[in-house]
């Protein structure tokens, strides 16, 4: 989270602003006349300039000012948005990033070059503000002022203005009440009094203007200089120029450290509220504890035990809440790839549409950071090798622009990310040739299609006949695979010749919160992810007996296989007289789970199972219940597959 260092906070925020600006510009490239986008980009530049200047990033503020001015013209309809302008500001935006990270030293030339291009892209330049001209001091002033009637309602207080005048020098104030309307017409919040003021002293006109600065435009104000008094010898005091604050460069504390700011996570306020609630409870328990420490000893052991339990619960809840703070939407990850695809399209001369889905899906921040590189590689692969040139696509009867689709969704304890392109698909012949050449398979060896595709995950394997500038950056699919596996995830590839390829990444969430259905089977409690639950129905004892050995129920004229969890888990308990069937589904496939009791819905913090239980695939994880006990989370995909197998076996048996 952001601490008290405004510079660090600014850097984080500037990074986000730049990302927003970039997104806006990329969108604008497609829809040049979209006013909302123009406004959004302008607002981003505007804020960046404003806060940049406030935090002493002058080079950034100055540079951004020019871009903002250019966009302001577009915003006001004085200039059209053009591809050239978008392209220049995109490159300007990279320069801004550099200015945010450093102090701009040695980057002036780059900046100037961009500004020259910007200049070329627009007509005219921003006017330079005229410096205020100081006026000679006077001996004193006679003034009359009357505020506009609505000034008081709008927050100006005439008494304070008079006070300010008094602070300037010796003051003689007389109120003029001639303009006050009769009582019947008087609006209580309007001010109709005027004031004559005689102000004596060495007061500049600017000082007086400063007093009235906010009301100057609308007020009645007459000012005339008092007749000069007999000349008084004035002694000019030496100005203590050395008292000026030291320049920022000389002051490392306020300067911009070369080191990157610490990592930050943006947190939605309601999650902080949750955390605050826990802390509040903790404080209450703490006060009970201190009361106990100072009070009498009667019954204290029981009280102490209860406090200890309370603290234990709070500590674990606090930890869980804290962990949730680490969850971030994949939108931030996907967002980065838009620029990548934009650049890849430019470099390859292909037209590429990037489509994203499920951007709200949340992943642990660390997991997401480690996903970035593998995904960059996979997207490069899709754009570079997968998608064809527009000519090839048209020849193949496809639309000229290729598509790369990124999607994310949560499934049980996993987040599933797919990277799909509609390109030419993986060339099996080339994969085979390469695998044979590398001695990975024997010439002519019979391989299942999936086995052949798996070859690309071998170290040093690359299907590109020529390693291009884009994809050949030292990492291969083997590195991608290893990274995904280090996250305890899995990578899967599907490819249809001529239709494209789909890479699926399944990453277990180190932690996620899901809505779960808490059920009891025998004496154990289990959580079924609510997203997979279709319905809950009663399994009467008769139905149970009748269906023995069949394990099917008819649900809306469809046979649905069911699994008796009590038997599967070998609970050794008798069935509850009112068993329930929880029907779960993945896609079109359904399976019923027979449980003894449905306890209710449960906000489930997914915890991973120990490595020692990695082979137990029935469970996707575990969670801690309110009483401190553990409930295992059922792996919906596994159970549905199991149910389907059972169905097939029974079908085969007739």
């Amino acid at each position: 989270m952001i601490g008290q260092d405004p510079i660090a906070a600014f850097r984080v925020e500037a990074g986000e602003l730049l990302e927003q600006i970039e997104q806006g510009l990329l969108d604008l490239g497609h829809r040049l006349d979209d006013r909302d986008l123009v406004d959004a980009v302008f607002r981003g530049l505007h804020t960046l300039k404003g806060s940049g200047a406030m935090f002493g990033f002058d080079a950034l503020a100055n540079f951004t000012h020019h871009c903002e001015t250019a966009f302001d013209r577009v915003r006001k309809g004085l200039a059209p948005a053009t591809q050239e302008l978008v392209a220049v500001i995109l490159s300007a935006q990279d320069h801004m990033r550099a200015l945010v990270d450093g102090d701009g030293k040695g980057l002036e030339a780059t900046g100037d070059a961009i500004l020259a291009r910007l200049q070329a892209a627009i007509d005219g330049a921003a006017g330079t503000p005229v410096a205020a001209v100081a006026e000679a001091p006077a001996q004193g002033w006679r003034l009359f002022f009357r505020l506009p009637p609505e000034a008081m309602a709008n927050g100006s207080n005439p008494l304070m203005l008079l006070d300010e005048l008094r602070e300037l020098g010796e003051c003689k104030i007389v109120a003029r009440t001639d303009a006050i309307p009769p009582l019947t017409d008087l609006v209580p919040v309007e001010c109709h009094i005027g004031w004559d003021v005689e102000l004596r002293g060495d007061i500049s006109r600017d000082d007086i203007d400063d007093v009235f600065i906010f009301v100057m435009d609308d007020m009645e104000l007459k000012i005339e200089a008092l007749a000069p008094e007999p000349a008084v010898e004035t002694v000019s005091l030496p100005v203590a120029a050395n008292d000026a604050p030291p320049p920022a460069e000389a002051n490392p504390a306020s300067g911009r450290p070369a080191a990157k700011a610490g990592e930050s996570v943006r947190v939605p306020a309601e999650r902080l509220d949750e955390l605050m609630d826990r802390v509040g409870e903790l404080v209450i328990v703490q006060s009970r504890l201190s009361q106990l420490a100072h009070g009498s000893a009667v019954g204290s052991e029981m009280a102490l035990r209860s406090i200890s339990e309370e603290i234990e619960r709070l500590a674990s809840e606090l930890r869980d809440t804290m962990m949730v703070l680490r969850m971030v939407p994949v939108a931030t990850l996907f967002g980065r790839f838009r620029r990548l695809v934009h650049d890849l399209a430019r470099d390859t001369g292909k037209t590429i549409d990037l489509v994203t889905e499920g951007e709200a899906t949340e992943v642990d921040k660390t997991v997401m950071e480690r996903l970035a590189d593998p995904m960059v590689h996979l997207i490069r692969n899709s754009c570079d090798h997968g998608l064809e040139t527009p000519e090839e696509r048209i020849a193949a009867g496809k639309p000229a622009s290729g598509q790369v689709r990124l999607s994310a969704h949560q499934q049980g304890g996993e987040v599933v990310i797919t990277i799909r392109d509609d390109g030419r698909g993986i060339d099996r012949e080339r994969v085979r040739a390469k695998a044979e050449a590398q001695g990975l398979i024997q010439p002519g060896q019979v391989l299942a299609d999936q086995e052949l595709l798996q070859m690309i995950f071998h170290p040093g394997f690359s299907t590109a006949a020529a390693v291009t500038n884009l994809s050949g950056r030292g990492v291969g699919m083997d590195v991608v695979k290893r990274t995904i596996e280090s996250l305890r995830g899995a990578i899967d590839i599907k490819s249809a010749p001529g239709e494209g390829s789909t890479v699926t990444l399944r990453i277990p969430l180190t932690l996620a919160i899901i809505d779960g259905l808490l059920v009891r089977v025998g004496e154990g409690r289990y959580v079924i992810p609510l997203a997979a639950v279709e319905e809950c129905i009663e399994l009467s004892l008769e139905d149970d007996l009748r269906s023995r050995g069949r394990s099917f129920i008819t649900l809306r004229e469809r046979l649905v296989p069911f699994l008796r969890l009590r038997e599967m888990f070998e609970t050794g308990t008798r069935p509850d007289p009112h068993q329930k069937i929880v029907v779960i589904a993945t896609g079109a496939e359904r399976v019923g789970l027979v449980v003894d009791q449905i306890i209710g819905s449960h906000q489930t913090v997914i915890k991973s199972m120990s490595a020692l239980h990695r082979d137990v695939t029935t469970f996707a994880g575990a969670t801690i219940l309110g009483d401190g006990g553990v409930a295992l989370i059922l792996d919906v995909v596994q159970l549905v597959t199991l149910g389907q197998h059972q169905e097939e076996r029974l079908r085969a048996a007739g």
Binding site: Q4, P6, V12, E13, M54, S156, L159, D163
Partner: protein, 122 residues
């Protein structure tokens, strides 16, 4: 009594800078991230001064100022807006909307405090 100030700005770093400056000068500061939040905060508690940015998502500063001034409870509450606009049009619009005064960005903390003292009288 400590004067309480509501600051409305979509930039967290700016809000932080403003908060640091104003709390350093002895004011109590409440923050809001846009016009909608600002309005809600102003309805929930009485502030001695409201400082707001103009360019904000959801509800911009102008709209917020207009909404605030519709509320009799906000009659006379000083509202200072922050602007980097070089043209006068925005300034005039904000004043017409009912703002008390303005502060041109970028500003140094001393300017902010000076303006606050000016309209608060303390």
């Amino acid at each position: 009594m400590t004067a309480s100030i509501l600051t409305v700005d979509d930039s967290p770093s700016l809000r932080m800078a403003i908060r640091i400056a104003l709390t350093g000068a002895g004011y109590a500061v409440t923050e809001a991230g846009d016009g909608v939040e600002g309005l809600a905060a102003a309805n929930a508690a009485k502030f001695d001064l409201i400082i707001t940015d103009l360019n904000m998502p959801n509800m911009d500063g102008l709209t917020m100022i207009r909404e605030l001034r519709k509320d009799p409870a906000q009659c006379g509450t000083p509202i200072i807006f922050l602007t980097t606009e070089s043209d006068d049009a925005m300034k005039q619009q904000a004043k017409a909307a009912g703002a008390t005064g303005w502060l041109v960005k970028p500003f140094v903390p001393e300017q902010l405090i000076k303006v606050s003292r000016k309209v608060l009288g303390r």
